[in-house]
């Protein structure tokens, strides 16, 4: 019964590699966007603050699939051509960057007030204070929720199969069309995601334990 799955395992694993690549690339980009948006939201001037609010509102209210469709259908008319894979990565990063911004903003805000005061009393200010005192502590606090957002992101990459990118979900659909064995094949696809996400969630829980001693 599992012959179908075994016969097509190489193809699924190839898809898994693409999924990992898409996830890693968009998670890295989303983290950068998240940090930038969080800092702009906290310390930007009123205009950039308003702009980040609009960005967060749109990303939280519109489905990722709609954003992907919008990118694929609307961008060609503007003359911008980023290619299918890069486009997918950018949209996923923009979408999850909004969630990461919330993670980092909450982390910066949860660095205790006393730490800022102590740093100021030592004569630090501005960039130095942020870099030496706040950011290292904030990154620690942000660790576990960041990993959780990464899990959402890995699952989110499955949507690019709907707009035609080839990764593990798409590979699964192609194999099912050929073999008519949806249980085995989609079970295998689910297993790929499960392995990635479960490892991430264990890692997140481990981080959570390690971080909790700070305060």
């Amino acid at each position: 019964m599992l012959n179908v799955l075994l016969a097509n395992l190489p193809l699924l694993l190839k898809g898994a590699v693409v999924t990992l690549y898409l996830s890693a690339a968009s998670a890295a980009l989303a983290a950068v966007i998240g940090v930038a948006v969080a800092l702009l939201q906290l310390y930007g001037d009123p205009v950039t603050r308003a702009a980040t609010h609009v960005y967060l509102y749109v990303m939280r209210g519109v489905p990722l699939l709609v954003l992907l469709f919008a990118m694929y259908y609307m961008l060609p008319y503007t003359g911008i051509d980023v290619g299918a894979t890069a486009g997918g990565i950018i949209v996923i990063a923009l979408y999850f960057g909004a969630f990461m911004a919330e993670v980092f903003r909450a982390a910066i805000l949860s660095v205790p007030r006393g730490q800022w005061d102590a740093a100021r009393a030592l004569g630090m200010y501005g960039r130095l204070l942020m870099l030496i005192v706040v950011v290292p502590q904030a990154l620690r606090i942000a660790g576990p929720p960041f990993v959780n957002t990464c899990i959402m992101l890995v699952k989110g990459t499955s949507l690019v199969s709907i707009v035609g990118l080839w990764e593990v979900t798409m590979a699964g659909r192609q194999i099912v069309e050929r073999t008519l064995a949806p249980f085995q094949v989609f079970g295998g696809v689910a297993a790929v995601y499960f392995v990635i996400c479960y490892c991430l969630s264990r890692y997140g829980r481990w981080l959570e334990k390690r971080v909790s001693y700070v305060h």
Partner: protein
């Protein structure tokens, strides 16, 4: 870029037709996962070790796999079994299974957030375990789960867009057809995004109102 508002107005009925399906699926999925989550959390916190372990395994399984893959699994799987589900039913089932897992964790966090001392105080007053649960713990826990429930509800409304890929004619499906037919990508997708934003704004405003109404006065 110039938007053709006449085009949007002319095709608004199509969007609204899809919006009805989106809203139906969202409402049903939210209700079903509220109930299913309660079942899962009961098993998760049951005294029976095997039951608790099974529930934990279930929660990990549904939370660590994409809902799209679950939908495909159920949709194409049911066809092979000889009892094909409609796309709507398969989508509803997949969303209920996944979000029931999330809801169970939300319930559990709410129950655990009620101080253990309150349980002890209830016991000291001579209440039985189920009385402590229904009179002391649950009324407080339910109030605490409203904010995370709101987040989950929004996630679910957005996830309904995925059933467009198993041929359910909801909003995103209609939008895609409309773009394929007219090539008016800007008009279609800006309208679609605006409709989702409007639905989510209304739902989260309503739930925030609920949150304020049930809040424990301080």
């Amino acid at each position: 870029m110039k938007l053709d508002f006449n085009f949007i107005l002319r095709n608004l009925p199509t969007f609204l037709e899809g919006a009805v399906v989106t809203l139906e699926l969202s409402a049903l999925a939210i209700l079903c996962s509220l109930v299913w989550g309660l079942v899962v959390v009961t098993a998760r916190t049951a005294p029976s070790r095997a039951l608790a372990l099974a529930a934990t395994g279930y929660i990990e399984l549904v939370r660590n796999t994409p809902v799209l893959v679950q939908m495909l699994f159920i949709y194409f799987g049911s066809a092979v079994l000889g009892a094909p589900l409609s796309g709507f039913a398969a989508g509803l089932l997949a969303m209920t299974l996944q979000n029931g897992g999330y809801m169970a964790e939300i319930y559990r966090a709410g129950i655990e957030a009620v101080s253990q001392r309150q349980v002890e105080a209830g016991m000291a007053l001579g209440m039985r375990r189920h009385e402590v649960m229904s009179i002391v713990v649950l009324p407080q826990a339910i109030r605490k789960v409203v904010p995370p429930f709101t987040n989950q509800a929004i996630v679910m409304i957005k996830d309904t867009s995925l059933v467009s890929s198993i041929s359910v004619a909801e909003m995103t499906f209609h939008a895609k057809l409309l773009t394929d037919r007219t090539a008016a990508a800007y008009e279609v997708f800006l309208t679609l995004a605006a409709l989702y934003l409007a639905i989510n704004a209304i739902v989260s405003a309503a739930l925030r109102l609920l949150e304020r109404r049930v809040a424990i006065p301080t």
